[in-house]
Amino acid sequence: MDKFRMIFQFFQSNQESFMNGICGIMALASTQMYSAFDFNCPCLPHYNLAYGLGILLVPPFILFLLGFVLNNNISMLAEEWRRPQGRRGKDPSVLRYMFCSMAQRAMIAPAVWVSVTLLDGKCITCAFCTSVPLETLGNASHPRLSQGEIQRVLARIPCKEIYNGQQLIANEVAVRYLRCISQALGWCFVLLMTTLAFLVRSLRPCFSQAAFLKSRYWSHYIDIERKLFDETCAEHARSFAKVCIQQFFEGMSTDPVAARCQLPRKAPADAGEAAEKLLGITDQGTMNMALKSWHRCKPPLHLHPPALPTGNGWAGEGQPPTPTHPSAPRRETAAYYSCV
């Protein structure tokens, strides 16, 4: 019992810590992606805004979707949502809980990308360099340039090598200004996210603790039930295969020369474990026949009971009409199945 408890504690904590681990790895991957990405501002009037905001907003969306894809529980949620009601009612609060916990984990990597991007400053500098306030920072009254020209000059602020507007506004002044705004936005964004997370976590016990405990229990239950069902089916498939193959070999060993699709019959009881393990096949020819038969004519997915009755003794419920030889119709059925 103790061992049980320890194992399932581990399982439970392991699944949650596994999901938290994936979450952390994605957050690290997002910072790594950002630093490996070669940011290349186009330095052209309308393209700057599109590029800058695109780099700021499109990768977070991709990371959000990726967070859902990598989460194993998404299929569990979908299954629970779409299954027919049957004999078990559906509880929308459980579905909401599962969705919320998945969405919260999937939000972390995008939030990290947006914070890192804003704190670094390159995206905002690229996107908004044409909106720098020339009156306060530079020389707005430059007489020779038209509005379009000014826009073109300002658009080159992020590209220091080709910037030619030092008289209009100093490059360092503009970059410092934009970067200051970007970092302020970044810190405010992080503060907002953290405050939201704190409020969500701390208000829950104040309002809906009982409902939360219920949803959490049943969502874990659904997960455990699905895993146990898969294990039980796997166990069943293993036993099924074992018996099927055993019966196949028994059939082969007793009558290898006759028709390929034979009803497997019980092998004569043999002495010795080694002989038993050989399943009655003791020479090359028989083995080759068995292998060929396994490939060309797999046995039906229908396991026979260990011993056929000697008479018509059908003890038990449900009396179907019994033919004189119960094996005969079965032989036909077997033939039908096995050659498909």
Partner: protein, 306 residues
């Protein structure tokens, strides 16, 4: 029983050391965040103060919230505070103890950030370069008021064309950094003295109450963990029974509707048990289809009574 006891002793000491570990990690993270953050003073008159003080105070608030969020005990404390009294009275001393220990741990990372910021000096130089008295510095003494504000605001930017070769800039910078570091070391000294006094003088007052509060706060924490584990174990057993019940009812249905013989074989009984009467492709398909279309009700009382 002994193993149980060992595990729970480990658990108990472990939860405090887990919290201390998280506290330490956050402090390290705060130092790392500061060093990797690219501090870039705007060098403009009104923006400097906002930027400098913002960088000094907003990240500590963020770190404080993170410290509260990552600490499991804060949830336990909130639940204990908000639960209906029911058949168990609430002890405010325990809640106060838990609250104070959570706050103390959550304050470590913000304090580390503030101290590192002050000892480094960049924030204060950025925020207060416009507030120094220009008369004290030769380069700024004979400049008009409007100009002097602009010039002083550019002091934090070493590479600015106006400031590149200005010796007074270095003087202002050193002056402000000296103040910043003095402030940083003083705060550090005060905090450590306060912590030292609290730990030494603490046992002189209310030691018994403290021991009780600490015991019951640990108890509440462990009780919650055990409740979660027990629920987990229970749901596993529930699922197991539910699935067995489902396979059993499938077997009954198959027996009713099929021509198969009653299972009387003595051999391969182990395997037959595992097969649970499902021995055919159609039967397996039917079972899987029924599992999806008609999940069994969440009621294993019939299975129990059998």
């Amino acid at each position: 029983m002994d193993r149980f006891r060992m595990i729970f002793q480990y658990f108990q000491s472990n939860s405090e050391s887990v919290m201390n570990g998280i506290c330490g990690l956050l402090a390290l993270a705060s130092v790392k965040m500061y060093t990797s953050f690219d501090f870039s003073c705007p060098c403009l008159p009104q923006y400097n103060v906002a930027y400098g003080l913002g960088i000094m105070f907003i990240p500590p608030i963020i770190l404080f919230f993170c410290g509260l969020i990552l600490n499991r005990q804060s949830l336990v404390m909130l639940e204990e505070w908000r639960r209906p009294a029911g058949r168990r009275k609430k002890d405010l001393a325990v809640i106060r103890y838990m609250c104070s220990s959570i706050m103390q741990r959550a304050m470590v990372a913000p304090v580390v950030w503030i101290i590192v910021t002050l000892l480094d000096g960049k924030c204060l130089i950025c925020a207060f370069s416009g507030s120094v008295d220009p008369e004290k510095f030769v380069g700024f003494a004979n400049v008009s008021t409007v100009q002097v504000q602009q010039l002083l605001a550019k002091v934090p930017c070493k590479d600015d064309e106006l400031m590149r070769n200005n010796t007074s800039r270095k003087a202002v910078s050193r002056y402000l950094r000296c103040w910043s570091q003095a402030l940083g070391w003083s705060i550090l000294l005060i905090l450590i003295t306060a912590a030292f006094l609290a730990r030494w003088l603490g046992p002189c007052f209310n030691q018994a109450t403290l021991l009780q509060a600490r015991h019951w706060s640990n108890y509440i924490d462990i009780e919650q963990k055990i409740f979660e584990e027990t629920c987990c174990e229970h749901s596993r057993l529930f699922a197991h029974k539910c699935i067995l019940h489902f396979f059993e009812s499938m077997r009954q249905e198959i027996k009713l509707h099929s021509f198969s013989l009653p299972q009387e074989g003595e051999e391969d009984e182990g395997e037959e048990d595992l097969l649970r009467g499902i021995t055919d492709q159609d039967q397996v398909n039917k079972l899987l289809k029924t599992w999806y279309y008609e999940k069994p009700p969440l009621d294993v009382s019939q299975a129990h009574q059998r």
